[in-house]
Amino acid sequence: MNGEKRILLEYADKINPEKAEDYIKVGGYKGLEKARKMKPKQIIEEVKKSKLRGRGGAGFSTGMKWSFVPEHAPVKYVVCNLDEGEPGTYKDRIICEKNAQALLEGMAICALAIGAKKGYIYCRGEYPHIVRLLNNAIESAKKAGVLEDFDIEVRMGAGAYVCGEETALIESIEGKRGEPRFKPPFPGVEGLWGVPTVVNNVETFACIPYILTHGAEWFASIGAPDYPGTKVLTLTGDINNPTYFEVPTDYLLSDVIYKLGGGIKGGRKLKAVQVGGSSGAFIPPENIHTSIDFDSMSRIGASLGSGAVFVLDETRDIVDVATRIAKFFEHESCGKCNPCREGTFRMYEMMQRINAGRGSEEDLENILVLSRVMQKASLCGLGQAAPIPIETTIKHFREDYMRKLM
């Protein structure tokens, strides 16, 4: 065995994700059944005890998030973030394609816990087939009666990475430009249409049924103690095995590359690995013997993020890759706040200059100053994270940059 541990994907390709009956046959909707017998507070306690932390990237305690929702608000919403836009990431799509009913069950449990009657799934515009799949899955679950009076509607995005940010996502569901809101107020207090709203990632919701079914202790005992459970990873780049895996959270990054990924293509050496999508830090080979969990990644200046693992071999031009990433952020900045709108634009300009051999050392210094300010002063996570891949490549591969300077 390669050390995979499949919880969310245990029945991948063995059941029809659209069919509630298939899911029920393999033990599905037991968690919801259990939750119906619990008080809302007990459900939240159980989730807290499981130590489940958000799988979207920020790693915030899910139980805590739910507990911020005011009990007595008359209307509340459960929103599922299916806008995975981090390049190299497709794990939420896989979870839907393999186990959509678990997502629905997770949302329904959340609805019970916070007292919501309506849920939305915001699916990125790139996944029209997932919208169809989910609508069928919802219909099937409704027919099976498992959701009772909880209603779920699927909304489709239209090509905006920033809508993965929870408040931009809310704006988009409201039919507006997907510009992030300032926080506070947090969505838990003032979210969709101004009412308390829980926004969680697909993977987070999909963990919930298993926590309820098997108990918080069981879940908490899997993987890293402070970030327990499993994580679905997607591998891309110069790797022999570019596919998805579900692993316990204490799995080592080096094992991801060499065991799951089957090592670097063509037997070449590793240059760097970027974890968490384009907003993630680049990790040099010397740091890869680290557990993938949130806190361990933080300790090496990286983040687990979406669980995308992008591997570059020794022949790769890291400045070119970083320039491409700078373009990504320039394209995806919503334009609301100054540091991000202008910063991503100028960052890309400077990176292009350097990549084309027209850059100077001054450009490099300017990038670092800009990077610092963007991280500290941008309005949302997009602008705060945008400079990280650039900054970390300069930090770890400065000589590659120096070679390209005028």
């Binding site: 390049p87 995005g157 239209a158 409201e174 430009r177 491409r324």
Partner: protein, 149 residues
């Protein structure tokens, strides 16, 4: 003649915030949002035209300019980039005889760039309308596009 703009938009009228869904519906029909359709949507959703226009121009899938029957989007995110998206793009431009952002004179194809479409298991990737084409190489382009010609 197909459905009127209003007929396309009306089913979303009572969906709270359904403007984006209505835009999707218009695009399924026309591949872009015609000016009069956008005005109609603003009227039906009771929002100012300036706001509706702001929404339509925010999202990269929406266009307020006329586009071809098939929209080819080339993913150029980092994984596709290192997998050779650049060469594929060049080949696409050459084959279609247009640059990124343009539409072929016969109105068939519009070529656009896009970011990650979440199909990274076999890259580089292009999409043609809702279809995903995996593991694209310059050599495969004529064969891929044949289906749409």
């Amino acid at each position: 003649m197909g459905k009127s703009y209003a007929e396309i938009i009306m089913p979303y009228k009572d969906k709270k915030g359904g403007l984006i869904e209505a835009f999707h519906a218009l695009q399924r029909e026309f591949n872009y949002i015609p000016e009069e359709a956008l005005k109609e949507a603003a009227r039906i959703f009771k929002i100012p035209e300036s706001k509706a226009y702001g929404v339509a121009t925010f999202y990269s899938h929406f266009s307020v300019e006329k586009r071809g029957k098939y929209i080819i989007r080339m993913c150029e995110s980092a994984p596709c980039h290192v997998a050779g998206a650049g060469e594929v793009l060049k080949a696409l431009e050459q084959y279609l005889g247009i640059k990124v952002g343009e539409t072929t004179p016969d109105g068939k194809f519009t070529l656009e760039l896009c970011e990650c479409v979440g199909q990274c298991q076999a890259i580089p990737v292009i999409t043609i309308n809702d279809d995903v084409v995996l593991s694209v190489s310059p050599e495969r382009i004529p064969e891929i596009l044949k289906k749409y010609e």
